[in-house]
Amino acid sequence: METAVEQTMTSRPDKPEPTKWKRAKKVFKGHPMAIAGLIGVTLFILTAIFAPLIAPQNPYDLAKLDILDGLLPPGSRLYDGTYSVMGTDALGRDILSGVMYGLRISLFVAFTAVLVGSSIGVLLGLLAALRGGWVETIIMRAVDLKISFPGILLALMLLAIFGTGVDKVIYALIIGAWASKARLVRAVALSEMKKEYIDAARLAGLSDFRIMTRFLLPNSISPVLVVLPMSISGAIGAEATLSFLGVGVPITEPSLGLLIANGNDYLLSGKWWISIFPGLVLVAMVLCINVVSDRLRDHSNPYLRAKD
């Protein structure tokens, strides 16, 4: 059921909107670093999606690994003839394949955790702003409580209780992701609440739920969208940290963090390739995401945008 108020609120017939594609192009135009970052992110995501098709070896299939192929330097040939560009780890796992599959886990975990966590955070933030009173008090004190805790410590505690595994890591990161988004959305939503279109919607007799989803959400979400990529790179780092500490993914299915941890023992003995390659990929990926994310943030800031 569309009401008259909604129509006036959602359409602006006087000026034609530029298409989304054009707007996106404008964001990156004249920023070669950001474009490089965007290309990088795309490549990493494609690699992760198509890893099973392009990786020389399935590093998670134990029957395909042989410890006799262990610790081979980059450029060696494995027993089955596979060429190993980045060398192998102690168990004969091809590092290149390990990195490709590791990317999959890292990106999957980070995206899932941040999207779910942020959705929960946004919902709670809007609810707090809209309802006020004790609902707001409970939600915002919970946010304070969460934020007062170091994120990694909280995740370590949760994993100690629930045990390890990809799903558990995602839960731990979700719990780490919601609070800041709730606080951010509530702040924006509170200022929106004072505007006349909300009063108009109220006067029209719309339900709280409808006001929240149709008006408050679209007008308060943009700051969250801007910090989202930064959260994703943060979550990638957090997952790597947890895996490095040995409480993340199972050791037979290493993510980037666990690959780095495996190689850590060998750094002093000159077998640098086990840690360095996954480490470089991790750094490159986080860097690409951060460059893109910086650009989005600058663009969303009206003062900085004016200089574009």
Binding site: D61, A63, L65, L91, G163
Partner: protein, 529 residues
């Protein structure tokens, strides 16, 4: 001679830059000794620390130490002749009264906590001083093992506690008419830390213990003027401390540390085959095992053919060679084949095709599902070996789900018997028979058998051989019984032996380390080249 040593050491100290006090040996243990009190705690580091200060009637090699020999008066009565001319650190002479006192202290529980030999001394009915230089041990039933157990009975001076004058009468509660035993504090501040060993207590804090040479030692006095034991549990920090010149020797360097020493002229490493056997415990329960399932609902691990197939699938040489760089040996039984008392056994074969065929013959041509558990923080290279084993079993068609957990979690699951297959390491100070009697004998609380039988294994042949061994006083016949038990167990394979560990030490290049099998580190092993 001594002067030459000092000069050499001084030169070495200058060359190494920062190694001071050349005649004090500075060692870094991998965990802290738990107490100066020799009675409550075992464990390699505690035992290694305390053997500097205290001695027992029998040495670590089962040879006489504070004794000169023993005779069996009857199968239940043993007389031990004591060494004469031995003095405690406080100058008191060592006599039979001290042995009775120490036996009493071993049986005396402080805060109701058991001591090292609390249950092992259960069969003892009396300990009697016969004059100053002989002690008679009376037992309920034939107890030949007592001779090996005596090496844990550290001898303490009876002059230390509040002991009434005159002879001490032994009783199994440890009361013995003694009004007060020294407390833990008395030991740690040195008042009660009075033994006969080659070193004297100077100070003890858990992470740092200092000892000085006992110049009145009855045997050959140590060449080291003093010993400092630091405890550094983090292997990276321990190794860095060695490289920085903080320690002369560290125990348990990782195999990666060893490779890092390649081409380093200032440091070297020593290795010694140790008594620990690493093996896979399999739950052979016919009702099925936790975490193990087959498509037809049967219990695969209850089938001996399956267990042999799993053993055949493992390339042990590859594991010891590739993962340990040769500092481990392929296992062929449940105790190192080089230990005294272990029988001769053939090497275990590696043949993946044969393993696959055997698995098919057992009725599992398509394999089965196996959850394999391993502690993540317990054994050097442990998780890598666990993954290698999972590789080998995957290749013969078994679907392996590897589950690694911290030791604290793992140990709980083991106690609750929630694991059908797990990776485990075990050595026993008293040799092969002790180990397999705990691990594979049918559980029997009265005889103390099978207390760690996580395999749920029960074999008449094995039990008969173990029970015959437990009462055999003739060493050669006892070894024969051990051999029979070992062969029976290996034929059924309730566990799969994988490798024997080596103890490793990294140290300054001008030192030599003559290590022992028992995983301990002490100053007696170390000398200048």
């Amino acid at each position: 001679m001594k002067k030459t040593f000092t000069t050499l050491a001084a030169v070495a100290a200058v060359a190494l830059g920062g190694a001071a006090q050349a005649d004090v040996l500075r060692m870094a243990y991998s965990s802290a000794p738990r107490s100066v009190d020799p009675y409550p705690f075992g464990g390699a580091t505690t035992a290694g620390y305390k053997e500097h200060i205290y001695e027992a009637l029998v040495g670590h090699d089962d040879q006489p130490l504070l004794s000169t020999g023993w005779t069996w008066n009857s199968p239940t009565s043993l007389t031990v002749q004591l060494r004469e001319g031995v003095k405690f650190h406080n100058g008191e002479p060592f006599t039979a009264r001290d042995v009775v006192y120490s036996a009493c202290r071993m049986m005396f529980k402080i805060d109701d906590k058991r001591n090292l030999l609390t249950s092992s001394m259960g069969p003892l009915t009396d300990v009697v001083a016969e004059g100053d230089h002989a002690v008679r041990f009376e037992t309920k039933n034939p107890y030949p093992l007592w001779i090996q157990k005596m090496k844990f009975l550290s001898i303490l001076s009876a002059s230390g506690g509040s002991v009434p004058d005159g002879p001490i009468t032994y009783d199994a509660t440890g009361d013995c008419g003694i009004t007060a035993y020294p407390t833990r504090d008395d030991f740690e501040n040195g008042d009660a830390a009075v033994g006969t060993g080659p070193f004297k207590h100077v100070s003890f804090a858990k992470e740092f213990a200092v000892m000085e040479r006992n110049d009145d030692y009855w045997g050959e006095a140590s060449k080291w003027e003093g010993v400092e034991i630091s405890s550094v549990s983090n292997s990276g920090a321990r190794f860095a401390g060695l490289l920085a010149g903080d320690y002369d020797l560290i125990e348990n360097p990782t195999s990666e540390d060893i490779t890092a020493l390649d081409g380093n002229d200032d440091f070297d490493f020593s290795s010694k085959p140790a008594w620990r056997t690493m093996f896979v415990v399999l739950d052979v329960n016919a009702e099925g095992a936790p975490g193990v399932s087959a498509a037809d609902g049967s219990a695969p691990l209850a089938n001996a053919k399956v267990r042999h197939a799993m053993s055949l699938a493992i390339n042990r040489d590859a594991i010891t060679d590739r993962l340990f760089g040769g500092n481990a040996a392929p296992a062929n039984q449940y105790s190192p084949s080089y230990r005294a008392g272990a029988p001769e056994m053939p090497a275990l074969e590696y043949d993946a095709d044969k393993a696959k065929a055997l698995l098919a013959e057992a009725g599992y041509p398509d394999g089965f599902t196996l959850q394999f558990n391993a502690p993540s923080d317990r054994y050097p290279n442990g998780t890598r070996v666990a993954q290698a084993l999972a590789q080998y079993w995957s290749r013969i068609g078994i679907t392996v789900e590897l589950n690694t957990q911290p030791w604290s979690v793992f140990a709980k699951a083991r106690k609750a018997r929630e694991m059908g297959a797990f990776f485990y390491g075990w050595g026993h100070p008293q040799g092969p028979a002790q180990m397999i009697s705990f691990a594979f004998a049918t559980r029997d609380k009265d005889l103390g058998l099978g207390s760690s039988n996580y395999s749920n294994y029960s074999s008449e042949a094995f039990d008969a051989a173990i029970k015959a061994w437990a009462v055999e006083t003739d060493a050669a016949k006892a070894d024969e019984h051990v051999g029979n038990a070992m062969r029976a167990a290996m034929a059924d394979m309730p566990g799969i032996p994988v490798y024997y560990t080596h103890s490793l030490w990294a140290h300054r290049a001008d030192l030599t380390v003559d290590g022992r099998q028992d995983e301990r580190t002490s100053a007696f092993m170390v000398s200048y080249k």
